[in-house]
Symmetry: C2
Subunit: 313 residues, 2 copies
């Protein structure tokens, strides 16, 4: 299936010269505009039943998550989420309204103000959110990583993927893991703090660390070495994944939908961030000159890539 | 099916106090933000197969129209369309990409710059566009009509509805009418000029004059008298509708999707607009103290309301 990068390639070929307001065009977590004397980020993400969720997600969960994943894109630029437009539809009005209730709940949770949107009938539950975020300084892009930077992640990895496995398996398992999947917690405070402290590059972990770190490396023209044994995996995540016959480190690196932030920054910045962030910060590797390498117990791990949850569906 | 007004009611009940940037909240053609020293409009519209179009629309048409209808919302505020985010999906990648090609074609046509968006798989072709427009002065709202203002419309009415009838009837009929339905021409120049000249209220005609003028009257706390015999209906529209056994004036008042602008303004403003606008401007009635009244040949026409193309589908 088409991904964001194919889209960007297709659109970029037809893009006219950007207007003077465009500081960052399509291709990062958000585009960035200078409006008057202010910097604003813009992004959109769409969730569709059967592609991003199934019947195990309530309409409220879906609306909430559509806002949360957009907030995560703003967080990964070092911005503060401010305004959204939300469009959605389902096969009946009640489902559409319940989805919009989830949108509103997320707006309250993340301090985002809804400017409008659209509702319609649709064969399957679909919601698209466009977000405007505000920057207090130049954005942290995917392209700024430099050899010698440390690579750190906020929070924890693999819990959302474990929660998805619980849901797909019929919902028997940890409520905490399920909630991590259905109601992600975007890292606005940590992203803002990392930007203030001097992070060089950031990306939000939507497709999984193994895929997303490649994007940072490609756009920065660098390589990296990630040590899977360093990945922050919670005890309940580890326990559930083992019981399900899955390797916790592999799932944590490839499962996706963590909505944590991957940060490339000099060691002193990472240390300052660790000291001041309310969200745990864990060093998982470092930026190198070339080649994206994953190791575990000193051995190189091959063929680690993103995991397409619903491939073919 | 749920409409925009039910959504606004549902959301408004949960809206927190607007941030200081919000000049106009949800409920007009666009919301308006003051960002730095600039005024910006924000809106979104979603098109879904089976609700807004059927197989007679190419994916390119759908992408193009999704941008055009959003541009029309900006035009109705007196703004200039500037930036979009476009999200879309279909059951195969090629359809999605063709839809995005239509989005890009419309961006070129309307001078709008695409900041990004999202693509995904979806059961049926779906596209959502969010738009940012720029205002050079305070926006023209739906709520500013005053008794004594004239009511005028840009361009022509009923051609899009006639084109839809052609398409639904198998496509035998005027190519011009079909194109009016598939590729609307939002009235940016006329909207901007009307705002500069002092229009009191504007709305874009998406649901049909009979419905949309009621919204202006409700939000302005006024009434109106519209003379159906004054509606600007082109010769080919009239001819086709008669041949299809439809009353041209009724279709022009209720068919919808005209994407013309309804303008309430004092007579001298309408005269100045007529003299200077490249788009034809036609007076169709006047604003009164109370009651929304439609007349034809001196007789009151009852039960004139919007036309839900795909009601029940």
């Amino acid at each position: 299936m088409l991904n964001e990068f194919e889209l960007i390639r297709r659109l970029s070929g037809r893009l006219p010269a950007p207007p003077p307001e465009v500081v960052v065009p399509i291709g990062d977590d958000c585009a960035v505009l200078r409006l008057g004397d202010e910097l604003w980020t813009a992004a959109a993400d769409m969730l569709v039943e059967g592609r991003h969720f199934r019947g195990w997600a309530s309409p409220e969960d879906v609306g909430y998550k559509a806002v949360a994943v957009n907030v995560s894109d703003v967080a990964a630029m070092g911005g503060v989420p401010r305004f959204i437009l939300a469009s959605g539809g389902a096969s009946d009005s009640e489902t559409t309204l319940r989805c919009m209730d989830g949108v509103m709940e997320a707006c309250e949770e993340f301090g985002v103000y809804p400017l409008g949107g659209d509702t319609t009938g649709a064969a399957t539950l679909t919601v698209d959110v466009a977000i405007l975020g505000q920057l207090e300084r130049v954005p942290v892009l995917r392209s700024g990583a430099r050899p010698g930077d440390l690579l750190a992640v906020t929070g924890e990895l693999g819990a959302s993927a474990a929660g998805l496995l619980v849901l797909e398996g019929g919902g028997v398992g940890s409520e905490r893991l399920v909630k991590k999947h259905l109601r992600p917690e975007p890292r606005v405070e940590a992203g803002l703090l990392a930007a203030r402290l001097g992070a060089q590059a950031m990306i939000d972990l939507s497709d999984g660390l193994a895929s997303d770190v490649r994007r940072v490396c490609e756009m920065s023209g660098v390589g990296c070495r990630i040590d899977l044994s360093l990945l922050p995996i919670a005890g309940d995540t580890r326990k559930y994944l083992r019981s399900a016959g899955r390797d916790p480190e592999t799932v944590a690196a490839t499962g996706g939908e963590d909505y944590e932030i991957l940060i490339a920054a000099p060691e002193e910045v990472v240390e300052a961030l660790k000291a001041r962030s309310e969200t745990p910060i864990t060093v998982v590797g470092e930026v190198t000159e070339t080649d994206v390498v994953f190791v575990r117990a000193g051995d190189i791990v091959e063929n680690l890539s993103g995991w397409d949850h619903f491939a073919g569906s």
